[in-house]
């Protein structure tokens, strides 16, 4: 399986990433390089296909455990005011970001 420029664009949209464009050619060179790198890694990954694993059940995790639950008690470990000190922009307990919902008449 190989990734091409179209597939790369789709992956970048999903991953919320973009390449800095400092000139048309620079952008394309970076994308070509990234496609080549990704395909190099995919070739490594595809070595998995040398073994038949159809009869083996998947293992998500090294431990055979289930998610433990704690008691339904307020432990006051979340200090929102202190944690929000790190926020780029916040007010009255809310994190502020550019407007998400368009106003009526905004085309």
């Amino acid at each position: 399986m190989k990734v091409d420029l179209t597939a790369l664009d789709k992956l970048m949209r999903l991953a919320r990433l973009s390449l800095p464009v400092s000139g048309e050619n620079a952008g394309k060179r970076n994308k070509d390089r990234l496609v080549a790198d990704l395909n190099e890694v995919l070739a490594l990954i595809e070595q998995m296909n040398s073994v038949d694993t159809k009869k083996i059940s998947p293992m998500a995790h090294p431990l055979d455990i289930v998610q433990p639950l704690r008691g339904d008690q307020d432990d006051r470990s979340i200090d929102r005011a202190r944690f929000q000190e790190e926020a780029p922009d916040s007010r009255e307990g809310f994190y502020l970001v550019p407007r998400v919902i368009e106003k009526d008449g905004d085309g």
Binding site: A15, S57, P62, E85
Partner: protein, 483 residues
């Protein structure tokens, strides 16, 4: 030997016998850091004043007499992936360049409770992704044995700081080999415990089913002290294992006669390393252990499964870096979408972005079964191969890496060539088994490491075997001459 190059256990004895005070010891390390950090770039943040204050408190406690916390007054360093309240925790990324953690990681909390003095936060590959410490937004970390070569990664700063004598011990993390590989390249001892043995609470996540909090020390005895300080169940980490913690120190000198399995698949490409391990095996046989040759042919596929699973988990874990609640936010975002995309793209390094994209690919519709689920099946195959091996032998042995420290820039052109640095170390992460790297030799004055893997929760056996080896060899006592 220089005081700054003595191990944690020796320094404890010196402190107890009042040969030196914690303040004097801390000043010695701070002076060395100030003298050499520009060249060796081991530390991202140094907390000199706070360390002095902590050392002062430790001396006062010691003067009072009575029972002391285990690491009272010992200066250590933390990999800059462990949250430390009030201190910058950057993960060597522009994304968290100014992030000041509002809480302590469990590892930090437990070491503080045992009296350790924290000198600062060490450099690393960004978000723990790398094997050379060249992926840091704060510059590469050269190897103290040869400054034109890499220290290894991702815990390059911790390994280099310890080897160069800037701290008595250091914390690290190991997701595919990131504590053991730099330890091997820098000539120090690394212990990656069993998965779940040490809490990951406050340890910034790269790949949650593969990340292991680890320790770097001058020798196995020191590692026993450090592990004893941090191991144990933590209700705040839902993957923390609720099993009793062994008395690692008491077990050190009680090495049983073991059957050691030398893994030929972990030796063939590294002649100098292979030779050094064979010489170590001769020492083990002299000490009464039996040695058997073992083949683990499927282990080589671990690297393929790893780069699916680790990338997938990293794509998921790093989705939180969106400029909303913490970390870097781009200037003048035109929309929320623009804010998220540009905040991530402008601040995350190229290796991190590459792995996020691989992870996104293997999790995407149409490829999930062929890649992600398949890798999970391969993970079980590797675990079963280990289980079968441990029916025949007690400990598996090989070289930690395929060679000694390579030159800066040598492998940055090819992601896969860099990934192969972790070929031998990755399987222990997939299976969650405890493993160590122990200095075993040198080639052209560059350290070589021996890799030891034990069954789940058998850290006591691992430490005692390594300790016994170190009582009968001196590779772990060698120190570099700094430029």
């Amino acid at each position: 030997m220089d005081i700054a190059q003595r191990g944690l256990s020796e320094l404890r004895r010196d402190l107890d016998l009042v040969k030196i005070s914690s303040v004097e010891l801390t000043e010695e390390f701070i002076a060395r850091i100030h003298k050499y950090n520009k060249r060796y770039n081991c530390f991202i943040s140094v907390r000199a004043e706070e360390a002095r204050a902590d050392a002062q408190k430790a001396d006062e406690l010691r003067a009072k007499g009575g029972e002391l916390p285990a690491l009272c007054g010992i200066p250590i360093a933390h990999k800059d992936l462990f949250c430390m309240r009030g201190v910058r925790t950057t993960c060597a990324s522009r994304m968290l360049e100014n992030y000041v953690a509002p809480y302590d990681a469990t590892v930090v909390e437990r070491l503080r409770a045992r009296g350790a003095v924290v000198l600062g936060k060490t450099n690393m590959d960004e978000f723990a992704m790398g094997s050379s410490n060249e992926n840091s937004a704060f510059g590469a970390v050269p190897n103290p044995w040869d400054a034109e070569r890499v220290a290894g990664g991702s815990s390059g700063g911790s390994a280099s700081a310890l080897a160069a004598g800037f701290c008595a011990a250091a914390t690290a993390t190991d997701t595919g080999g990131s504590a053991r590989q730099p330890a091997s390249l820098c000539g120090v001892t690394a212990l990656k415990p069993s998965y779940g043995r040490v809490s990951r609470y406050g340890m910034i996540a790269f790949a949650s089913s593969l990340d292991h909090a680890s320790v770097l020390t001058r020798n196995a005895e020191d590692a026993a002290w450090m592990l004893g300080a941090v191991a144990g169940h933590d209700a705040r980490d839902s993957t923390s294992v609720d099993a009793p913690v062994d008395d690692y120190l008491s077990a050190l000198d009680e090495t049983p006669k073991l059957c050691l399995g030398v893994v030929d698949d972990w030796l063939d490409t590294n002649r100098a390393g292979a030779q050094a391990v064979e010489q170590a095996l001769a020492v083990f046989e002299r000490l009464g252990h039996t040695v058997r040759r073992v083949r683990l042919p499927r282990m080589g596929l671990g690297i393929s499964a790893y780069y699916v699973l680790a990338s997938a988990e990293c794509a998921s874990n790093l989705a939180r870096y969106d400029g909303v609640r913490y970390g870097y936010r781009c200037e003048n975002p035109k929309s929320v979408e623009d804010m998220i995309v540009r905040s991530r793209s402008e601040s995350l390094g190229s290796e991190v972005q590459r792995r996020i994209l691989i992870g996104t690919f293997v999790l995407s519709a149409g490829y999930y079964d062929a890649y992600y689920v398949r890798a999970q099946r391969l993970r079980r195959l590797i675990c079963e191969e280990f289980k079968r091996a441990f029916e025949e032998v007690d400990i598996l042995i090989g070289s930690t890496t395929m060679g000694t420290a390579f030159k800066l820039g040598e492998k940055t052109g090819s992601p896969v060539e860099m990934y192969r640095e972790d070929l031998y170390t990755i399987p222990a992460n997939l299976a969650g088994l405890p493993a160590m790297s122990v200095p075993v030799g040198a080639s052209e004055n560059l350290p070589l490491g021996m890799h030891l893997v034990a069954p789940y929760l058998a850290e006591a056996t691992l430490l005692s075997l390594a300790h016994q080896f170190q009582k009968n060899s001196d590779w772990h006592t060698r120190v570099p001459v700094l430029a």
